[in-house]
Symmetry: C2
Subunit: 146 residues, 2 copies
Amino acid sequence: MIPEEMKLANQLCFSVYNANRLFIQFYQKALKPFDLTYTQYIVLLALWEQDHQNLHDLGAKLDFGSNTLTPLLRRLETAGWLVRLQPAADRRQLVVELTDKGKASQGPIFEAIKACVGQDQLDVSQYKEALKINDALIADLKTAVG
Amino acid sequence: MIPEEMKLANQLCFSVYNANRLFIQFYQKALKPFDLTYTQYIVLLALWEQDHQNLHDLGAKLDFGSNTLTPLLRRLETAGWLVRLQPAADRRQLVVELTDKGKASQGPIFEAIKACVGQDQLDVSQYKEALKINDALIADLKTAVG
DNA sequence: TCATAAATAATCGTGCACGATTGAATGGAG
DNA sequence: CTCCATTCAATCGTGCACGATTATTTATGA
């Protein structure tokens, strides 16, 4: 017989895994009118916070390597959300910059997401508690995988 | 300027997203000697809880469709963890059953995972709290994406 | 200066996730 | 018995994630 603490229902990893998949589904639904994937939205969030970043710094904030970012940024450029620039000062780097469309879409996208949030959502204190405990979990996992 | 609550650092989805990626890295590391991916381990967990399930029921427990499970189960079969059987009673179905190797590996795999858990892990009460709040989140997201 | 190391984005390969479709097998109504 | 709807797994296509490698450019030290 499997130990009680190893059952799927008691596994925090499985809970986090499913919460993540549902979050992605939720956002994909809200983002469908904009033809954006969840990950693409996360990248745009980072750029709305700070435009004109190079791939390396963007990757540091999102924990993405170039293997993930390079094709992702190419797709975002093709769809007109940003441009990829090669700075003359250091031709190894790649700098990304939001287009006018990219900048202007922030408001409408936030509106679309808010409109998808149901009435029965977590209240503010629960949300903050969830954020706090997940961030503590992340800190622990970071040392564990170090 | 981006609203404070929309910054990455304040987004629960981003926290869950990163916790999930770190969990996966943690388990991949622990599972490397067994040549198992995280998702394959999750499927084995479900089978250790209950062997001899058909694809449909397994998918219901893990929220996977045949598009995810079919190739995954084929790989698990190729690696000798389970066998895929076509029941004569209903030839539409596919039943999976652990091999001797699949059954016998439960203990060693659990040991390997335990050995990878560091000293600075979440304590029991924090773990339970995290599980509780994530499960509440899942319930809300399910109604939201419903 | 010049060789070598370091930094950096790009590429490659694998395995998920999942929306959508397909095709085979079964069950049920007439 | 015979359609016809239903139930399944399988297939297809796209986009991540990420380990590993490669190729280019810059920095550094003798």
